[in-house]
Symmetry: C2
Subunit: 205 residues, 2 copies
């Protein structure tokens, strides 16, 4: 049985239901913890589900920060320092990652609040999550406020990668599932991945 | 054991290895088929792994189209028609979805080439994938070329949703995993999701 919603159905929907539905529509989302620090050395951690690939050469990553959501401290920090980290979330830390989205006061580091250890970088002034198996350090290339709803699009260039050696294949592909990496759907459901394998490069028959 | 890569390691890496690695870094990506049509009624289908949530009210979705990749026909079509569809990819169609990224000639519809049935919308001039359990129809709100690498950022507003009624919870959340929806990692690995459950709304302790 199919259920259909028109644009006016969506607009008339109760707010919480609309938020859950619209956040669920596109499917699985990557779960990454964004690490940053302010000028006073106060670290900050924020869970991001909108990280996307922009390009491999130069190595660019994009993410969207919501205007009224918790990671505003992250946004201020990454603009101040012009750098940040992304740390892939696994089964062993996803509850802490989810908890990091609570509205902690500015003077409290989410690293301490949710008991995740900091690992500092030699290259950039931003903290990694020690327990993440895939850590990326980025310098800010561009930030841009979207006119449609004041979200901020951040583009970062990858300047450092630190990963578990066991995950990387000879051709550079990472076996993310074997690290028990999680994906998010909607606002609050987490998933492990069960690999269906890799497919060959497609050519017209 | 950890492996580290500096910015110059990344730049010096063999092209294919760099492409695989950088595409793998952020974790799981949603797999959506973008449906579009041109002024002559020729349908087009393209697999997108960069769809991200932009906002719930208005209901906005973003995606990035690579400058030199196959979906240029999709980009031309969605600019022409100012609309497109997104169709969540499941286990039963992921091989066809992957095959749709082959470089078919412009005059051949990927729907026909990979044997996926078209379902037309009453609301917008864009084709759905009949076999997808979660279909979203969007009108184009904004297209913008990123100065960093000529990727095109497309923002769409959701004007129609069609989904399997069994997937939607009372609070609007979709049980994506039960529909055998797949996620992508890197360029070519596909995964089913195994739910770890939903977590409660987080509050500071």
């Amino acid at each position: 049985m199919r259920e259909k919603f028109t644009q006016s159905d969506i607009q008339a929907m109760e707010k919480r239901k609309r938020t859950n539905l619209i956040n669920s529509l596109s499917g699985y989302k990557s779960a990454n913890l964004l690490g940053s620090v302010n000028n006073e050395g106060q670290t900050n951690l924020a869970l991001m589900s909108s990280v996307f690939h922009v390009g491999a050469n130069p190595a660019l990553v994009g993410l969207l920060i919501r205007p009224h959501s918790v990671p505003r401290h992250s946004l201020e920090n990454l603009i101040e320092q012009q750098c940040f980290t992304l740390n892939v979330v696994t089964e062993s830390i996803y509850r802490q990652a989810h908890q990091s989205t609570a509205r902690y006061p500015r003077e409290q580091s989410e690293f301490e609040a949710v008991h995740l250890d900091v690992e500092f970088s030699d290259v950039i002034n931003a903290p990694y999550v020690a327990d993440s198996p895939v850590k990326t350090g980025l310098s800010v290339v561009e930030t841009q406020t979207l006119s449609v709803n004041d979200c901020v699009l951040v583009i970062g260039e990858i300047v450092e990668i630190s990963l578990d050696k066991a995950l990387i294949a000879n051709d550079g592909h990472l076996d993310i599932a074997s690290a028990n990496t999680v994906a998010v759907t909607g606002l609050d459901e987490y998933h492990l991945g069960q690999s269906l394998g890799r497919l060959p490069y497609p050519k017209p028959e």
